[in-house]
């Protein structure tokens, strides 16, 4: 399928995922709401299969393979979460999967990908092109390449998170004033925006990014795709895409209200906050939306703010250091 996915494609994906993906819970804390003077609703996607939202898009994409494509298998490249999502969806559907992963990806992500039965091929992030390696493998094996964000079915699949979230909020008698979503290549937020714009048109959707990887914030402000400056680093290993995708930016350009960005310190405080108040393990990239709220980028007082915590695959040392940084939030 080519072209831009629409709301109906998110609904269609939602039906495909029924009984396969986890309908992850929406969490809320009386103590947190009292502190913030408003209502903070948190979508707990670390509880998804493989610990991140990536299972949704991967499953939707793989569920469309023809019988012939299924037997030749799939190839994907990923810093980690998409790898696991594709591996788990492939395992579920009995499709062979090969994943190209950087040699410096968090150990927990590469190990889990292997445990899900996928073949993992490592490459050097600074010297090799993962795109070329993956394309070569796909050609050689006749396998289908599954992009991590810039794909019709992947975007529609990620959108099921937004669909669920809006419905869960509604069941809790809440209407989101704002929805803040972590953003790397922009697939998750594009899908969520399709759902939110249709089901809850008064909800403003904002992207959240690490401050030196704020390509969406800059691109939205300028109305055209802007690349991140090369050579930056962030602990948010899941959000290091160099620029917005083609398809995703086509959607996000008109549907988002703007971009927010946060420092790595803000992210660590947010991870500590989620540990303490929501008992949830959130990885750095998964915590940027919560970080944006806690750092005061958007006002919660007197309002209802929805934030997506998009993943929880974090090495224990990084997590232990982050919860040790909890100085400001008690």
């Amino acid at each position: 399928m080519t072209g831009i996915p629409q709301f109906k494609d998110v609904v269609d994906a939602s039906e495909r995922l029924q009984g396969h993906a986890v309908a992850t819970p929406m969490l809320e804390s009386a103590v947190v709401n009292r502190r913030l003077g408003g209502r903070l609703l948190l979508k707990a996607e670390p509880l998804q299969h493989t610990g991140s939202f990536k299972f949704r898009g991967a499953f939707n994409r793989l569920s469309r393979l023809t019988v012939q494509e299924r037997s030749a298998g799939v190839v994907a490249f990923s810093s980690g979460n998409h790898a696991q999502g594709v591996a788990a969806a492939a395992l579920h559907l009995g499709v062979p999967a090969t994943i190209v992963m950087p040699s410096d990806a968090p150990g927990v992500k590469t190990e889990s990908t292997r445990e899900l039965g996928a073949e993992v091929i490592s490459y050097d992030r600074r010297r090799q092109s993962r795109e070329e390696i993956a394309a070569g493998l796909a050609r050689e094996r006749g396998a289908v390449l599954v992009p991590s964000f810039d794909d019709f079915y992947v975007i529609a699949g990620q959108g099921t998170l937004g669909l669920e979230f809006i419905r869960q909020a509604s069941q809790a008698d809440a209407c989101l004033d704002e929805l803040i979503v972590p953003c790397g290549g922009g697939g998750l937020i594009a899908g969520c925006a399709l759902a939110a714009n249709e089901l809850s048109p008064r909800t403003s959707v904002f992207s959240a990014e690490p401050s030196r990887f704020n390509d969406h914030e800059l691109s939205l402000a300028e109305g055209r795709k802007v690349r991140n400056r090369a050579g930056s680093t962030s602990i948010c290993d899941a959000l290091l895409a160099p620029e917005p995708g083609e398809l995703t930016f086509e959607i996000n350009r008109t549907r988002l209200c703007g971009g927010l960005s946060v420092s790595d310190d803000d992210v660590c405080l947010a991870m500590a906050f989620a540990f303490r108040h929501f008992k949830l393990v959130v990885e750095p990239g998964g915590a940027v939306a919560l970080a944006a709220v806690l750092a005061g980028r958007r006002k919660v007082e007197g309002r209802t703010i929805g934030i997506v915590c998009s993943g929880g695959n974090v090495d224990r040392k990084v997590f232990a250091d982050a919860i040790g940084s909890d100085g400001l939030v008690g």
Copy 2:
């Protein structure tokens, strides 16, 4: 209400709690199931209001107060989780709450209790009797004392966790061969046993305890209440009750299949495992059932085992140390 609660009292509590307590999710991991060769279903109760199951029993008890009792308020004593559960239920229902807590309780528990609007009165665990302090306060203020486990409505309220769990398992096409539940005074497991025996009679129910606080294991083996030896310690601060309760043991004596016990090291490994595979923050006492499974106390291979993770209120240093202990489980 006096006497022993029955299954119908758990159902009644479940109706009271509807829309107030969180129907916490049941979690499952493909990687974990592959490793264990069976099906492990985990009830994620750290996601309950106040981070533990205690809200259930407290809410059920407080919802039965007369108008006069509500205005005089409630008193409870607790090492932490029951404190927060009573405080949150009281806040919910507009009832004043006073909580007697040991001065060495985890800081996260006392702070959260205060933030929920309760008055906290500290005492020295080694030199003062919390029972006497609480009874004195109740007398003085005309307040109702809310016991942490040995109470008709508290037991029935905790049982709603078991009711939910059995139903969630059934929706996932699973029938539990065994259900393993953390056990301090025995209120949670008593309520869960009432639900399991009725809805899933083939499910064997086991208690899990720290090895030097295995009063249920010993009591079940001997058929009479046995006290723990004095002077022991454990990191499982929520499970330090000296002996089974009167009401709870009356239920547990005939309904449980036996007791399991684990070391503090087993508990730390289980906390690390829940962090890694379920993205869930579990406190030491909340992790004993998972610890029993991982330590091989019960066989998972070819079977379906339900475990309750009962709470997640843990200081960050304890948690950071525990996830650092993850040597054996990768």
